[in-house]
Symmetry: none
Subunit: 232 residues, 2 copies
DNA sequence: GGGACTGCCATCAAAGTTTCATGGTCGCGA
DNA sequence: TCGCGACCATGAAACTTTGATGGCAGTCCC
């Protein structure tokens, strides 16, 4: 599902321009031109990002932002403020109220789009095209390939998902149950001990060339992926 | 603990200005003036935010940013790019590489500070479970690690739970029965004397490097965890 | 049908836990 | 101040729990 962006802007020319450009980027777009509608719309539609004009009929943008930050459901909703007010004090105020970014009109559309991408990227760590690295480990989601210290490593699908999950939370210990839920799926009936077996296979594959073991067993607790060199 | 900010900037005048201003805001600040040092420093010190100049001797800022995004450990580290290049294409590129914000020189210090606050605010929830500290003791629930004075300490599961419990109520004395109930479980039948043995092992592990004993024996009452240096 | 992969089990080894016997220490009253 | 009893520390031994390993059967797919 493409991210949904809400534009809160009363100048219809600008609103249209934004809508058009953002839709061209593949986003779903909603717009409202009145501050007091904004909060309702946000509650009803739960957008992934809000672009908020400072000056609005109804409720001023800054008040909307403040309100969004007050509500638990929207505390983490990325907000980009848009304004004609170039004064520094306003920008500072906008950012401190809880806006995540602040653009002054006139702005470049390309920059706005890039900033939108940056905000969405941070808000929802989505599919990453770039290969991940962790220590001397390289994990390429796109081609589903893994290498350690330059040498390719062959993993079965389950081991790959297991490693992928662990790489996302370096050093953290997960119980077998947590791993089953995260890697196998929440409602799959698999013996907890089976995790051991896959950990063993993963270890065997990763340490094929006698590299130090990256997987730490924590007795009575679970497993963690560590940087080689970390204390046992 | 105040957030740690790393400044990667080769113009020493600007670097000093930033350092001074950020420290005045209460942040801890590190700086390096060379791109190739930046990655090492980040790995070693794990800052909460990086301010990165685009043009650097050594490695260009944009390459550092790209590298940070590839490593699992720094994927979520907020990055603010700083540059003299006002061209739109550069901003877009910087943001798309993974920078979270982008400021063009000259910029207002107040705005920079506001943007730093905005980035740190958003990154906060990422740092989920803070490790507990008590004196020179460090107890990290997530990675299930314990260290004393920087040296790792190995504990068995029971000692870990015991220490975890004691750390939560510093200085308080608990009877063996209370400890059994809290650490072992309310309906476990274990000799009260067994607590002694675990206390002994915990002491041995914590004082391995001849550190002062943190566990106080209270005759006829039980045990307590004290700050070393507290009166017996 | 062969190869790759998965899940399960039995077994062994290692790590950790509990208990016990013994000796040391402390506080207190004679 | 001495002696006593209560209390705690310690080492070792028996026992339990937990993880690693190798093997194997069932599936899926080419």
């Amino acid at each position: 599902m493409e991210p949904l962006i809400l534009i809160v802007e009363d100048e219809s020319a600008l609103s249209t321009l934004l809508r058009y450009n953002l839709q061209a980027e593949g986003y779903r777009v909603l717009d409202v031109d009145d501050g007091s509608q904004a909060l309702e719309t946000i509650q009803a539609r739960q957008p992934d990002l809000v672009i908020l004009d400072w000056m609005l009929p109804g409720l001023p943008g800054i008040e909307i932002c403040r309100e969004l930050r007050r509500r638990a459901q929207t505390r983490d909703l990325p907000v980009m403020m848009l304004t004609a007010r170039a004064e520094e004090a306003d920008r500072v105020r906008g950012l401190d109220i809880g806006a995540d970014d602040y653009l002054t009109k006139p702005f470049s559309l390309a920059e706005l789009k890039a900033r939108v991408r940056a905000l969405l990227r941070r808000a929802q760590p989505v599919a990453q095209k770039e290969p991940l690295t962790f220590g001397d480990l390289l994990l390429d989601l796109a081609s589903r390939r893994v290498a350690r210290g330059g040498r390719p490593v062959h993993l079965g699908p389950t081991e790959f998902r297991l490693l992928h999950f662990l790489v996302q939370y370096p050093g953290q210990v997960f119980s077998r149950e947590e791993l089953l839920a995260a890697v196998w799926g929440r409602d799959i009936h698999v013996e907890a001990r089976t995790v051991d077996v896959h950990i063993r296979r993963l270890r065997a594959a990763l340490n094929a060339d006698a590299s130090p073991d990256m997987i730490r067993t924590v007795r009575a607790a679970g497993y963690a992926l560590d940087l080689p060199g970390a204390p046992a």
